[in-house]
Symmetry: C2
Subunit: 419 residues, 2 copies
């Protein structure tokens, strides 16, 4: 089969059953495979396939955006970039991605490990579950993948070749460039928001400082090809149990700023924080709220700790070479450079977190944290706090000193001490 | 002829004479072509070829660094990148590059316009010539090429494809990464400097703030793929008459920060300033010094003026979209964003200027401004001022307010009011 053909529940066993390695893993009798389409994302088909021997996930890209339909074409090659990003992530932080069993570039199919009893982290947070390990696991994941994909670690020539490879993922970057950084800030046609937010939305779209900052962040996103980013690292791209954390769906992978993955990830914990009052009964989510702020802080702290550890032990790339510092008896020079870099990541991370918050409430791709609050007045009440919080971060990002200050801001907004 | 073979004065007419378009331009009787090898650069062969009808320049890359020898291999593909950069420069600022007549990728040969009576700008400045047009011409050139090669102007997908193309120019970037940003700051084996500078060189190599800043600039150079840079834009890459300015030799072209070309270019005027006392008799270069500071200022001012003009009239790329600003009646928002961007370019430009100054005195590739001062004590005296000047710029770049402040610093160093 040469031409791309979308899989169906009916055709999947016949088509993938041709691969002996998959039959060996799922079950030789392909006729007894049980197939269910479970995709709830915005872009792709996702199947669970179970047989006598085991189960796998089959993910197939479609030549258009599933959320919108065939009117928005999107190239199948995103599957190629997802596959290559998964490979790199699995090398850079082993055990944090699903195992890959099979990749068919032409059919845009990745067959991978069926993670069970894992659930999507976003769902768990909506339900009020406090996962004990995610702060540490995710902090380590971003530190390791972002450090090891940069010129701090890679051979420069190899990084440039990889940069050239991923530069072709332009259509997925285009989605982020528009949907994250621009559309939320004017009346773009794909936007939608909870109607009760109208006055605040109008205020934000008149907010010159915010718009300038969002565009400055877009510039950094597009120009600063510092490392291989996951590109879509929110709580819907993480699968969890109490003991395990896995990061999935890096089809938006691109060479971009270290701060982008960090900011997008942490923003989704802050959004979950503001969404909790939409899901609680009788104030039952106080402990969950404290957990979410604590986890956002933990992700950042672990990121800094691990990034610093890698800086001191694996800084073998061409940047901040040891020959200029440690080899000259000036280890403190390297620490000074590290402080400067962490500071820059912090400032930009806050900006990316701010715009991520806005686009999830004002743009096309909303998130379930807020969307599952059926009472729109209550939802708008939660969303308004998140919007104000995001605006504060984006505009004041170079003057915010640490996570304690941000947690305090979040708590004051939540308690309506500030509006 | 498939394999690469270096041209010689003897073989050139036979080999290039096969091209009818070149015979038509130079003269049909290839036997009467006069060929002279005139390359004085660090990397390539350069011939002037004259015939009955006209003259051309033939530039051929060698598979190694000419300055060092066959022990330092360097890929021929740099000729491909030079050709493509020349094409883009000629589209983005017409008339500022030599016309290209012929390109042979396999033989790494570019045949181009013989510019006459043009001379290399660096030579003219050493001789004390005040070229009236270069400030304006070069300011326009950097504004136009750097703006029009960025996401401020290009279609994002095309820029990403071009970024991928130029990412393969890794070996030339590697030269800059090492020779500009790292080698000058420790005892690298390719370094050399005027012996009288020993104490100051030791001081600079112990200077933690300077080394950290140089590495931060290397990080920006390597990661910030903002636009197509010339990559080697010094006064040796500019040919001039009183009426005309042409920019040549973009074989180091790469996607990098706007500020890189700006800073490297202006630094070479400041170096010329400090070198003048090595070339003057009886204080005769006072007017030349004033001209050089004035021209550095003019380049920056024209750059800002033209960049701002293009921002207001050609900002059709995906960054800082008019739909968010002008289309919302908020032209002042776009001006605010422009101010921010110009500020960022200014700060980084000063840093790149600082390290360019250092590497030309401490690294491998010195420049003739200082090298032609035969009295080494006098040369070191000039170079020491330039080194201190460069250190001041690099370390204080975020706290320097404008060209007047820098001109004043240069004058105080020149008059030895500060040491």
């Amino acid at each position: 089969m040469k031409e791309f053909v979308a899989l169906t529940v009916e055709t999947l066993p016949v088509r993938l059953g041709e691969e002996s390695s998959l039959r060996a893993r799922i079950g030789e009798d392909t006729g007894s495979w049980q197939v269910a389409e479970v995709g709830d994302g915005n872009l792709n088909l996702v199947f669970i396939v179970k047989g006598s021997k085991g189960a796998v996930i089959v993910k197939q890209a479609l030549p258009y955006v599933r959320l919108v339909g065939e009117s928005w074409p999107l190239p199948l090659k995103r599957s190629f970039f997802e596959y290559h990003a998964l490979k790199r992530h699995s090398e850079r932080d082993p055990g944090m991605t699903p195992e890959i069993y099979h990749f068919d570039e032409r059919q845009a199919i990745i067959v991978m490990q069926f993670l069970t009893p894992h659930v999507i982290l976003r769902r768990a947070l909506i339900e009020g579950r406090q996962l004990p390990k995610i702060g540490r696991d995710l902090g380590l994941f971003i530190a390791r993948t972002l450090f090891r994909g940069s010129d701090l670690s890679m051979v420069a020539k190899q990084r440039k070749a990889d940069l050239a490879l991923f530069a072709d993922n332009a259509e997925l970057c285009d989605i982020t460039e528009n949907l994250v950084f621009s559309d939320p800030y004017f009346e773009a046609k794909l936007n939608r928001h909870t109607p009760e937010l109208d006055p605040l939305v109008a205020e934000l779209r008149r907010d010159r400082d915010l718009k300038v900052e969002a565009q400055r962040l877009k510039h950094i996103f597009a120009a600063n090809a510092e490392t291989l980013c996951h590109g879509d690292l929110h709580t819907g791209s993480v699968m969890v149990t109490d003991d395990e954390t896995r990061v999935i769906d890096p089809e938006f992978a691109f060479y971009g700023p270290i701060a982008f993955d960090v900011g997008m990830l942490i923003a989704n914990f802050w959004m979950s924080y503001f969404s909790q009052s939409g899901h609680e009964e009788n104030g039952g989510r106080d402990s969950m709220r404290a957990y979410l702020l604590r986890t956002a802080t933990e992700i950042w702290d672990v990121f800094v700790e691990e990034f610093s550890h890698l800086w001191r032990t694996e800084r073998n790339g061409m940047l901040y070479e040891a020959s200029l510092f440690e080899a000259q008896g000036d280890a403190l020079g390297a620490e000074q450079a590290l402080d400067g870099l962490i500071h820059d990541i912090w400032v930009d991370m806050l900006g990316f977190a701010g715009v991520e918050t806005h686009r999830r409430i004002l743009g096309l791709a909303h998130n379930a944290d807020f969307e599952t609050i059926e009472n729109t007045a209550l939802r708008a009440h939660c969303e308004a706090k998140a919007l104000k919080f995001g605006r504060h971060l984006a505009v004041n990002r170079s003057r915010i000193h640490g996570m304690a200050e941000i947690a305090s801001l979040a708590e004051r907004l939540q308690r309506e001490i500030v509006q």
